[in-house]
């Protein structure tokens, strides 16, 4: 019989959101659970009703990834289904001729700046929501929820006006601000969920020991928030890395463009250079894949702990 596995998944289980697990860092699986999990896994006989649908879904997931690698690595005109003869010409061309090096740098600056701003502002707001009762708290939460329904894409016109008034058009700052603002509501809700999971009594104990509120937060709460901060920060980074419309609208010189806009120009015409498009796509995917590999085991924990749904 299949057993629902909830307690034996130390890396992803919802209960792992508790402070004891959350604080244990990237390599933080307790050795005991690891041993238990291993034994258990090898006791199981492969079951077709898991592996068959999963396998089919895996094909659906992986074929597109393979496809883009294939086009990026095989010479133009080749129809072979394996990337042989192997060529890196497409990458060279996209990186230098199509100025993906510049796009990459711009995207990286935007992504990291968005990550830092979002995390700092959300950390402050989330702490206030989790630890204080104040008069406008209800209104603040209502505003956070409602702003999830406000589409950035529909605010292009007034945002353009605002950034024009601030003379930030064609400056990466406009995109950084816009991305941060639209990441904030979700990030604050997530972080306040994580902070609620850190026992208040721990902070109180630190105060008794003579810490200021800030020191108590820094020494006691912050280390336990690491998985939460990683989740929130990576959402912010990935969103900003992927998002397209703000950069398209607010940045108009080529040396300020970001990767998604560069990719879009490669797709623009009918005579698409498929090799270049594929190579550009692979370049665009590399950072998010690295981020994803790094955070994926915290993803589920992040969502359940942050009560993203409410």
């Amino acid at each position: 019989m299949i057993t629902q596995d909830t307690t034996r998944s130390p890396d992803l289980s919802a209960t792992a959101a508790g402070p004891d697990r959350a604080g244990s860092g990237p390599a933080g699986r307790p050795p005991v659970s690891r041993r238990r999990k291993k034994n258990r896994a090898w006791d199981e006989v492969p079951r077709w009703h898991i592996y068959l649908p999963l396998g089919i879904y895996l094909i659906f997931t992986l074929v597109p990834f393979y496809w883009i690698l294939l086009f990026a690595l095989r010479p133009t005109g080749s129809t072979s289904l394996v990337p042989w003869p192997l060529t890196f010409d497409h990458f060279e061309k996209v990186w230098t001729d199509r100025s993906f090096a510049t796009y990459f740098e711009n995207s990286l600056i935007t992504g990291v700046a968005t990550l830092i701003m979002t995390t700092l502002v959300a950390l402050a707001g989330g702490y206030a929501l989790a630890r204080f009762d104040f008069k406008v708290k209800r209104w603040f939460m209502l505003a956070l929820l409602c702003s999830q329904f406000v589409p950035g894409a529909l605010l292009l016109v007034p945002l353009f006006q605002i950034f024009a008034d601030l003379s930030l058009i064609n400056s990466l700052m406009s995109v950084i601000i816009a991305e941060t603002v639209f990441q904030l509501p979700l990030s604050i809700i997530l972080i306040s969920g994580f902070i609620r999971n850190v026992p208040y009594s721990l902070e109180e104990a630190a105060w008794v020991d003579g810490c200021s509120r800030f020191t108590a937060f820094r020494v006691v709460v912050l280390p336990m928030l690491r998985p939460g901060l990683v989740a929130v920060g990576s959402f912010a980074f990935v969103h900003s890395w992927n998002h397209f419309l703000f950069a398209l609208m607010f940045l108009n010189s080529q040396d300020k463009q970001t990767i998604p806009v560069g990719l879009n120009t490669l797709m623009g015409a009918d005579s698409v250079d498929l090799g270049a498009l594929a190579a550009g796509g692979v370049i665009a995917a590399v950072p998010v894949v690295i981020v994803f590999a790094f955070i994926q085991k915290w993803l589920v924990t992040g969502f359940s702990a942050g009560a993203v749904k409410g």
């Binding site: 909830t6 649908p53 496809w67 883009i68 589409p151 945002l159 816009a178 105060w207």
Partner: protein, 317 residues
Amino acid sequence: MASAVAQKTSGPPRPLPRPPGRRRKGTAPRRLPYLLIAPAVLLMLGFIAYPVLSVFYYSAQHYNPTKPWRNGFAGWENFTAIFTEDTHFWGTLAFSLKWVSVEVSLQLLFGLALALIVNQTFVGRSLGRALVFSPWAVSGVLTSAIWVLLYNSQTGITRYLADVGIGEYGTSLLSDTGTVFWAAIVADLWRGVPFFAILILADLQSIPKDLYEAAEVDGASRIRQFVHITLPHLKDAIILSTLLRAVWEFNNVDLLYTLTGGGPAGETTTLPLYIAHTSVEGRDFGYASALTTVAFVILLFFSMVYLRLSKFGGETK
């Protein structure tokens, strides 16, 4: 789900020791929460609330930098134009509803199935999860880049399928009005299902395990366990994430903008995409603002339902 949140929002316990404040610097602890939310509030006021209000303002204006002679107060003209003269509006609205309902229901269905599968114990589970969730990180433009390659009429997947006798050569799934809808749906499912599955998996893992053990002892079948334990537990989360997702799919323009550009022949233009085209390419800011106002009214309906269902009123004091 609401109960889970309610437990967490039990409010800060009465602090036994006096919270350290910095009174001498004039930052009384009572003001601290306001200081903490200030950056977020200012950013959201300046870059969400103010733009929303100015959209309402522009919607009553003729405002088109390419036609400066016509600019000025318009009153209801933009709106009457939308509902009476505009030949695209109703079509894009209908397509938006079709797109959102098909996309979100399929995402829910596959996402639930995927979450149930990877929630079980099996050899290679961590790797399996990482792989099936990986398209989550890829979005918008990159997704369309990938699927443009797959759907390409000359060297795309159809060519290789034709080689083994399925379909015919030179089929372009994206320029044929008969196939473009499903082609776009599949591309969006590719990155949408993992996201849904992650949300549902998070909730699956919060179901107490003893419920299943008890059901097992009572001799309940797997199907009965699913219907009587799993589904009721997931109900709230499913409803709320579906609503959020619907809004997200409605608002998101990256994929269709770059994959089909709204074509062929306006066949795949959603309302937000139409607005983006009207403002980015048409530069008709007044008219785009009026369209945006209409979109807001539709979204308002969604958010009312969401706020009601998430029992927002009962959760905080």
